[in-house]
Amino acid sequence: MWFLAVRHLLSRRKQTLLTVTGILLGTAAYVVISGLMIGFQDFLVDQLVNNDAHVKVSARADKLTAQSLDQAFYGDQFVSWIKSPSGRKDNPYIVSPGTWMQRLEHDPSVSGASAQMVAQVIATHGKISSTAKLIGADPDQQKKVSNIDDYMLSGHLDEIGKSGSRIVIGKDLADTLGAVNGETIYLSAGKAQPQPFRIVGIFHLGVKSIDETTIIGALSDAQKLNMTPGRVTDIAVRLHDLRQAREMAGLWNLMAEEKVESWDQANEGLMSVFSLQDIVRNSMTIAILIVASFGIYNILSLAISHKTREIAILRSMGFEPGDITRLFLTQGMALGAIGGLAGLIFGYLICAYLGTIEVSADRGLGGNHLFMSYNLSIYFMGFMLAFISACVASVLPARSAGKMEPIDIIRGEGE
């Protein structure tokens, strides 16, 4: 019946073209909107994940409760405090980072781990000071978990490993402090006199929250500044497969008392924005495709009502109801397939064009173009949406055509 279906479509060229255009626009809209949104999401995730960690092991900061000290001081006696004990238990730190590192290095799903000493510091340059987060890490380990080295405006991450209190800092922080590469700034963890550090590199990720606050230095320097020698507060872990992050975090959480969080757990707020975006994107596309489906439904119904005589003659020739249904179903499917494919191509072209547009947003060394996603799954999904909605829309009219009895049609014509 293929051949007849094609002839049918060709015989009403205008309608066919219109329907195909409808599906084309729906599919293209899906591809473009998805390309934009997923491109943006991918960019953000890339910045967040690759420069922080897939999974982060951090010391649990336990708070004292009113009853925390009862046992130690008073045994089983009932105690009522006038001013109950409160505050954090000691400085949080990972109890045995060596064991952790050993365990992580032997895990086949881990591609790198970096032990860090993270401290809040005040950076001072001349009269200007600013709060910042100092990450003390071994540069070789750090390079395995983050690709910050790719975003260096000047200098290299390696240089912090050389002796003598060297750091790399974010571009925005450097701007705030008015410091340039090679200058010395003072860092204070609030426990001792500010100590001088030399800036040996400036990085620019394009993510303001990181560029404005982050300083990376050698692990031992950070420990010294914080007066906590040998202590590690975090371990950043990079996995071979990002998608395993949540699962591995859950697993490791069971093995020790440290807090283990995957990147998406750590950025819960952002993730909920993403899923909201997905909902908006999908419902928009579905709305467009529903309109296109109604077009197909209409056109097929109309075609069938014009072709009842031909259906009768086909049936009298011995064509079965299934053949008739197939005749019209093929037409709907062909419309969906052609419109879908054309929509993918059209959508791709629009994406390619949008990708060349420069936006004012500052996006580090990644350039300031719009980020478009060309993920194959978008194209697959777009095509399936078009094709399936076309099939669904043509099933009803096609089946009603199949159910027509030749005798009713002939008789209906009147004698």
Partner: protein
Amino acid sequence: MIELFGVKKSFGDPPTEVLKGITAEIKEGEMVSIVGRSGSGKSTLLYLISTLDRPTAGDVVIDGVPVCSLSMKELHRFRNEKMGFVFQFHHLLPELSALENVLMPTLKQKKGEDFTPFAMELLWEFGIAHKRDRRPGELSGGEQQRVAIARALILQPRYLFADEPTGNLDSANGEAVLKFFQSIHRDRGTTVIYVTHDPLFAELAERELVLVDGLIRGELHPKHLHEFRLDPIPGFEIRPS
């Protein structure tokens, strides 16, 4: 051979009986016309004989097989292989050329035989071979009806059914159509059964079944034109009204 046993057909609610019990027999290789006034149920009878419709009561038996016992699938194969239809309105598919229209029933056959030479032969026989690539819209009414007849014959059916095949044609074209029926009947031995209200065309058959108010009122044998028999002959039941 087609046998009818007390075939009744009613329509509507409350049911009106259009055919009131018809028993008849049409032998292999006969050419039979069904005549009657409009409303006499002649078209309904044809659709029952040709399996397009099912009787309310009674049995239609074709080649010893009761039609009612056939499944949908068997029925469609039956129609495809054994029957050809010609309607008052030619019912050609407007998207296809004359030749493709003729070949349409062969698409249902999965044997992959090439019927094109035979289709051309039929078109040539009907004098429209030179218009094989025209669309139905570019053909005259008579030519369209000839294409429809060629289509009905393409699978060499044993039975050819026609409902008012001349109804839409002028008398010259109508006569030509009946001449084709006669030659089909004579040369191929096809059983031809057609409905007409035109007594001149009805006379071209070997036998005329006269239908009055849903009953066969008698039959004419045009070859002996003035012999109008009212007494029952074997296979035909005549009931007083």
